[in-house]
């Protein structure tokens, strides 16, 4: 991710003190117990006067966006949370919607399929940017994934707390992936990939997994990089047709 962003002209910083967005505990119901984590993250992210904050996982990015609402009554952290929330983006969303890039110059000669993460598509509302960027990767053959809208069964602590529910979900997802005959599964969220790969590995389906950042950083020819403004493509709305 860092290398892709730098190639596209961004100067990057990594705040030393950042740890975790707090999603695992907050989504498990430990609101009070998560406050220290939230505040640490806000302090860390505000410690650098950056124009934008970019994360490689939609669910973490959305959690950080949620700080604004959760901490709205906190006189100190409320305003800081709002500032952080306003400048944070998921990686592919940032490249497409903020930088205005459609082609990152990457090449990947493979048959792939893409898992669309739930939090990125439904909570951030970005369901098209990764597909636009991936469809510009040279030599790549993308096979649509059946029932792409279905959750893979990760869901944070849910996957460990309820394997009897999460298991059939990830099994169905794996089967749909296997049915595409793709060599590589691409994802926008490391946690979904860890879940799906963990199950594929256990079942003996050695399909390679790649995060979208790895794909967009693969065999890059900087001369292929293209801005949306320099093409005759129209901007694809984040929410597609908006009917679900």
């Amino acid at each position: 991710m860092v290398e892709v962003l730098e190639r596209l002209g961004c100067e990057t910083f990594m705040p030393e003190k950042q740890v975790c967005c707090g999603q695992p505990t907050y989504n498990s119901g430990y609101a009070k117990g998560s406050m220290k984590t939230f505040k640490n993250e806000i302090d860390a992210l505000s410690s650098i006067d950056a124009d934008y904050i970019v994360g490689p996982s939609g669910s973490c990015v959305f959690m950080i966006k949620e700080y604004e609402e959760i901490l709205k009554n906190d006189p100190v952290y409320g305003p800081k949370a709002k500032e952080v929330a306003n400048k944070i983006y998921e990686f592919s969303q940032f490249i497409y919607r903020v930088l205005g890039i459609v082609d990152c110059g990457a090449e990947l000669d493979a048959k792939v399929t893409v898992h669309r993460s739930c939090h990125m598509t439904r909570l951030i509302g970005e369901r098209t940017a990764p597909f636009v960027l991936l469809d510009h990767v040279k030599d790549m053959d993308r096979i649509p994934l059946k029932n792409v809208q279905l959750c893979c069964g990760f869901g944070g602590t849910f996957s460990a707390k309820h394997p009897e529910l999460s298991g059939p979900m990830v099994d169905e997802k794996v089967q749909n992936i296997v049915d595409t005959n793709a060599e590589i599964l691409i994802g926008t969220e490391q946690s979904c990939l860890m879940n799906i790969a963990g199950r594929m590995n256990r079942l003996g389906h050695p399909i390679k997994v790649m995060h979208i950042a790895e794909v967009l950083n693969h065999n890059v020819d900087p001369n292929r990089i293209k801005y949306l403004a320099d093409t005759d493509e129209e901007v694809v709305p984040a929410n597609g047709e908006g009917v679900f």
């Binding site: 290398e3 002209g9 695992p24 739930c118 059939p168 790969a197 963990g198």
Partner: protein
């Protein structure tokens, strides 16, 4: 029992549901079919999200002024000669209707499908009366009743878990001699129910929407059974959850359109009726029209962060998109309200003690929130239940609780987290092995964990029982270490060009 359909523990119910392969395949097939029909119907409508805004506004307005609209509605029913009873509890509602059946000396009670009548368990109470027969007239509910009051699987398609052969076998006991064709089976029911309808002296219906300014009720069905239930018997009782109110027919009409498209992918249900007590000169319809307005715990959501669940119009779209429901079906939930709506509503109506597990049986994927036609933030409300359970009620005393609290402390402190990362790699070493040929590329380059001692906490082996875990990376290989030492990549030529243009 109330809204509970089972006293078995949650995991036992899930295990049973997972044995039912026909049910699972049927639910998945239904979800996929409805996905196509529903999205097509919504797209065809145009401006879907603006319609949702309107529907949400209507429901929120009605809830905001709920006592006022109920008062207006009750007054208008009374003006037309009808009777209204406000029931605080399911027992009051049930006792009231039972008393009415006895007073009217009714013998043949006919019902049309209604969730709230299941909530107050009126069927059981009336069946227990001497010389009183009760018959569910909705085809699916009829099938369930004839199978010894089997539990429904879905709020719109209650018999999803039954196949045509099972239904054929059941109908044989009632004298059916035909084959397993659904059309023939339905035809048989038509005749069977028609005979009953002709003798029915007491009708019970639910209510999709109550029209405050007209004192009428609005019902949506495809079969027409609700209309016949309102036509034939001389006495009709409408049972409605107190939140089912709208100001006028205009708002009901919007919701009827949203409901049909969301529930079954139709523009409108075949029958959409606004109905009240028989008017002078009319020869059929209810001479006696009673409305029982039921609270039964709904007040607990009013004025709280859970109030939006009362916006629900019972379309079942959230069930149709839920990946958990897809695999366990309706019976797994142990509540007459299954799926996402059930996860939110059941603890409110039935108490956290009875439905403690439900809010956790969710991956928070938000498909429900996205599809809801009245914009209930379902997954957020599910998460709010978790916060109530953990932070306010402290309901979890297991190892999981301790681990998550510890994670909360660890992730709140950069120093503790750094130490934990170092320990993780060393600590996991005894359970790990190196990447092997045939392992997934891109995940296990640092090794994998695929066997854990039985004594490991549930939160850990719950994962590793079915999946391999990538080995936590050593400090010298982690991202922070890499980032500190990396040399920034040069911006691409076209990027520099753009920047130069902008500087000009």
């Amino acid at each position: 029992m109330g809204i509970s359909t089972s006293d078995k523990p949650f995991l036992e119910r899930v295990a049973e549901a997972k044995q039912d392969n026909f049910m699972q395949a049927a639910v998945a097939k239904a979800q996929d079919a409805q996905f196509v029909k529903r999205t097509k119907a919504r797209r065809e409508m145009g401006h879907w999200n603006e319609w949702r805004d309107l529907a949400e506004q209507i429901r929120q307005h009605a809830l905001k002024y709920l006592p006022d609209y109920l008062e207006e509605f009750a007054g208008n029913v009374e003006k037309q000669g009808g009777h209204v009873f406000f029931a605080e509890t399911e027992k009051e509602a049930r006792d009231f209707i039972t008393e009415l059946v006895v007073k009217k000396q009714a013998h043949k009670v006919v019902k049309s499908k209604s969730m709230v009548t299941n909530e107050i368990e009126i069927d059981k109470a009336l069946t227990a009366l001497p010389n009183v027969d009760v018959l569910e007239s909705d085809l699916a509910e009829f099938i369930l009743q004839e199978d010894n009051w089997d539990e429904p699987t879905h709020i719109v398609f209650p018999t999803l878990h039954k196949n045509r052969d099972q239904i054929q076998a059941e109908f044989k006991k009632l004298g059916y001699e035909g084959d397993n064709e659904p059309a023939h089976e339905a035809r048989f029911v038509r005749g069977y129910l028609r005979d009953y309808f002709m003798q029915a002296d007491f009708g019970i219906t639910g209510c999709n929407f109550a029209i405050a300014d007209k004192g009428m009720i609005n019902l949506d069905t495809n079969e027409g059974n609700a209309d016949i239930t309102m036509a034939m018997p001389k006495t009709q009782v409408v049972v409605m959850g107190m939140e089912r109110i709208v100001p006028s027919m205009k708002e009901a009409e919007v919701l009827d359109n949203m409901l049909a498209r969301s529930a079954v992918g139709q523009k409108l249900t075949t029958y959409c009726t606004f109905s009240g007590p028989k008017k002078q000169g009319e020869t059929d319809g209810p001479d006696d029209f009673w409305v029982v307005i039921v609270d039964n715990g709904r007040f607990r959501a009013l004025g709280t962060e859970f109030e939006p669940i009362l916006q629900c119009i019972r379309c079942g779209a959230c069930l149709n998109v839920c990946p958990i429901y897809r695999h366990i079906g309706g019976k797994g939930y142990g509540s007459i309200y299954p799926g996402p709506v059930g996860k939110v509503l059941s603890p409110i109506l039935g108490g956290y003690d009875n439905f403690e597990e439900l809010p956790y049986a969710c991956s928070l994927c938000a498909a429900c929130t996205e599809t809801c036609p009245v914009k209930i933030p379902l997954h957020e409300l599910i998460r709010k239940h978790r916060i109530v359970e953990m932070d306010q009620k402290h309901m979890d005393h297991s190892m999981t609780n301790l681990i998550l609290k510890t994670i909360g402390i660890g992730t709140g402190s950069p120093a503790l987290f750094g130490t934990a990362m170092t320990v993780a790699h060393t600590g996991a070493a005894p359970f790990s092995r190196m990447k092997e040929p045939g392992d997934v590329d891109g995940m296990y380059e640092g090794g994998k964990i695929n066997h854990l001692p039985k004594a490991a906490p549930k939160l850990v082996h719950g994962w590793s029982d079915i999946r391999d875990i990538p080995m936590p990376v050593e400090k010298k290989n982690n991202f922070r270490h890499w980032y500190k030492n990396h040399k920034p990549v040069d911006p691409a030529p076209i990027v520099k060009e753009k920047e130069a243009q902008e500087d000009d």
